[in-house]
Symmetry: C2
Subunit: 82 residues, 2 copies
């Protein structure tokens, strides 16, 4: 079967505080950058799977994201083909 | 000035071992998934900046990625408009 690469981007939900992003936002002015409006930091996951079709790959990795890659209580995720 | 959202995806270089991705790859079969070909895990950063044009935003966030968001010794990054 052909190998398909699927990308999962996981981000904290907008209403959840993101201390890591806040730390980066606070550090940027001291490095000479204009203060950003916002910085949010999440996970970028690239999964290669053996499936018949790209749609099968999307569906399979979508389930992996629900079960293992994201915490649906506090995180949103987006799945797309690379 | 208008606010532009720029996305930075940071991944370990292909030749660098990714233990977090390896751990996920090893966990998937015990959750009922077929073993994936590979899993690589990096950072997904969304930065909103005030700039005149989208191109200015891309350039500014590209510099932030070089200086603060990625470690160019072991990581690659891609910058794109949201």
């Amino acid at each position: 079967m052909p190998v398909h690469k699927v990308i999962v981007d996981v981000l904290l939900k907008p209403e959840i505080l993101d201390p890591q992003g806040q730390a980066v936002a606070n550090a940027l002015p001291s490095l000479g950058f204009a203060a950003p409006v916002s910085v949010r930091i999440g996970k970028h996951v690239e999964v290669e799977v053996d499936t018949d079709t790209p749609d099968d790959a999307l569906q399979q990795v979508g389930k992996m994201a629900e079960v293992l890659l994201a915490n649906p209580v506090i995180e949103d995720f987006r799945v797309r083909l690379a």
